[in-house]
């Protein structure tokens, strides 16, 4: 039996070495792919220049036939469709939760060229949904990481990573070089920018989006169909837009939408034609339901694709939407500096045992993830509603703490949330409460919230 144990030990060791090798290869590929891209970050101008046209192939090689045989035998695709795919280029805007599965299936199916745009780097909190990136590539630009992963999958496809944001100055030039564009971005200004660039360049746009447990998909600007602006002439007010960090997203949901998006791109590129021009696909993962919605036709008065367009060149989309072209959390400036303390200042008053109440206003689901044990928890929504039960509870806790002091006139209440936005709203609410509710309190918020606490004071505190 000693032989068996030895075999098991050796197998385990081989497995471990192979894993190390894979990690090294991934990192090498990422470094090679990112070589030119890293310098381009932020500037936009350093994107690779005009690409040579894809060579027109007259027939499939024996290797191609073997590789794509299972889809070649489909009459809907066939050799003709496969050759069209090989001659097609697709620009993928965003290499995140949608872009990863989309690019993976397009690469596997044998599209000729994939342009991969992303300004961001791989972070740990991306990995649950952005399935082309791996642990070894944290910190690597996403466009380069995606290109490295795809190269391992299908080396016959050309990958062009663009490690920078799509920029109004360069977007049109870029979009012109591709046949189909897939919007896999995560913010409103980029969606208008991609749409306008596609209309001006005359390219079909397959647009996917996902949040929480829902997804949506539409093909815009396809052969006289409506564009994004036909549906949404005005951008939504910024305060109504939720990103994945705030709203959450189940990884497989953008995965499903990205896969359908890939299918739609393949159908357009191979000549089968799309299914979602003038239709919106809505996916509700909670109910397990897909819905097809019939949409309006192209609008004659559309600002960009209408009869008398007012948008004839790309503009400043961040100004148009009143929000930035990232999905990073917004920083609110509601309170003046005297109503706020830093995490360092709060730590000091904890150390000095200054009597106070710490009020955590995050939703329960986030409190379940992590919390400071001495905090009183009341979700912001309950404060907004002026929920009597909660206010009474807060009043009681303030009273208890107050008894330890010698009757301070204004009792300090420090308000904390994840990032320091909701805590400012909560302080405003507390400041506007009539004095009879809580007695005289001095409410301040903690700048940067618990995430600042985790990064500056307590490295063992979880970040999410």
């Amino acid at each position: 039996m000693a032989g068996g144990a030895e075999a098991a030990r050796l197998s385990a060791e081989i497995g471990q070495r192979e894993q190390e090798l894979r990690g090294l290869r991934d990192r090498l590929a990422a470094v090679l792919a990112g070589g030119s891209g890293a310098a381009a970050e932020g500037s936009g101008a350093a994107f690779p220049g005009e690409l040579p046209p894809l060579p027109a192939q007259a027939s499939l090689s024996p290797a191609d036939i073997l590789r794509y045989s299972r889809q070649l035998v489909l009459p809907e695709l066939g050799v003709r469709g496969q050759l069209l795919l090989a001659r097609s280029s697709v620009l993928v805007v965003g290499c995140g939760g949608l872009g990863c599965p989309l690019a993976q299936y397009l690469a596997a199916a044998g599209v000729g060229r994939l342009g991969l745009v992303d300004h961001d780097v791989v972070e740990t909190s991306n990995l649950h949904r952005q399935v082309l990136h791996g642990e070894a590539r944290r910190g690597v630009p996403k466009a380069a990481s995606a290109a490295a992963a795809l190269r391992l999958l299908n080396s016959g496809v050309q990958y062009v990573p663009y490690c920078g944001a799509l920029d109004p100055r360069t977007a049109l030039e870029l979009v012109r070089q591709y046949d189909v564009v897939a919007d896999c971005s995560d913010n409103v200004p980029t969606r208008y920018l991609v749409n306008d660039a596609c209309v001006l360049a005359g390219k079909p746009l397959v647009s996917g989006s996902a949040l929480r447990l829902e997804g949506q998909l539409v093909t815009y600007n396809y052969q006289g169909g409506p564009c994004y602006r036909c549906l949404f002439p005005k951008p939504p007010p910024p305060e109504t837009v939720t990103n994945c960090a705030d709203g959450g997203v189940l990884g497989v949901v953008p995965g499903i939408v990205g896969c359908i998006q890939a299918l739609e791109v393949l159908k357009i590129a191979s000549g089968m034609g799309p299914s979602f021009s003038r239709f919106m696909l809505m996916f509700d993962a909670r109910e397990g339901r897909f819905r097809n919605i019939k949409l309006r036709p192209k609008k004659p008065d559309c600002a960009v694709c209408g009869d008398n367009p007012t948008v004839t060149c790309l503009q400043d989309y961040e100004a148009f939407c009143g929000s930035s072209a990232t999905d990073k959390c917004r920083t609110l400036h509601l309170l003046s500096s005297e109503d706020r303390v830093s995490v360092e200042e709060y730590k000091k008053l904890l150390d000095e045992q200054v009597p106070h109440v710490l009020l955590d206003v995050r939703p329960q689901v986030e409190v379940d993830i992590c919390r400071l044990v001495h905090a009183v928890h009341i979700p912001l929504s309950k404060l907004e509603e002026k929920d009597e039960e909660y206010l009474e509870y807060l009043g009681k806790r303030i009273c208890e703490e107050k008894q330890r002091t010698n009757g301070q006139t204004s009792f300090p209440v420090y308000v904390v949330c994840k990032l320091g936005n909701d805590s400012q709203k909560a302080v405003r609410i507390l400041q506007e409460l009539p004095a009879k509710e809580l007695g005289s309190v001095l409410a301040k918020d903690i700048k940067g919230g618990l995430m600042a606490w985790a990064s500056k004071i307590d490295p063992t505190f979880p970040q999410y």
């Binding site: 949404f232 949409l295 999905d327």
Partner: protein, 101 residues
């Protein structure tokens, strides 16, 4: 007098969060002198379903930018928008567009 109208009113894409997270609402609109249209339905929703922060749902007498209205699974623009006359058993869906990826 228009007879009472029964509808299924649905919210999605996050718009349901303004309605206690409830996506489907079975609604019976009472009798009133003029027929029910979407314009009146929005007023009724604002008074009866939407408890707070109406600015996150409405702008003026219509929905705010970024919310699509779908009547029986078709874009309301194909149906007359605010002037669409509601029929008994209609399905009206208000969907907030998603931007995440």
């Amino acid at each position: 007098m228009a007879a009472p109208v029964s509808l299924q009113v649905e919210f999605g894409g996050g718009a349901e969060l303004l309605f206690d997270g409830v996506k489907k609402h079975q609604v019976t609109l009472p009798c009133q002198p003029e027929p029910w249209d979407i314009r009146n339905l929005l007023k009724w929703i604002k008074q009866n379903l939407l408890k707070e922060r109406p600015e996150l749902f409405m702008q003026g007498e219509s929905v705010r930018p970024g919310i699509l209205v779908l009547i029986n699974d078709a874009d309301w623009e194909l149906m007359g928008e605010l002037d669409y006359k509601l029929q008994d058993q209609d399905n009206v869906l208000f969907i907030s567009t998603l931007h995440g990826g």
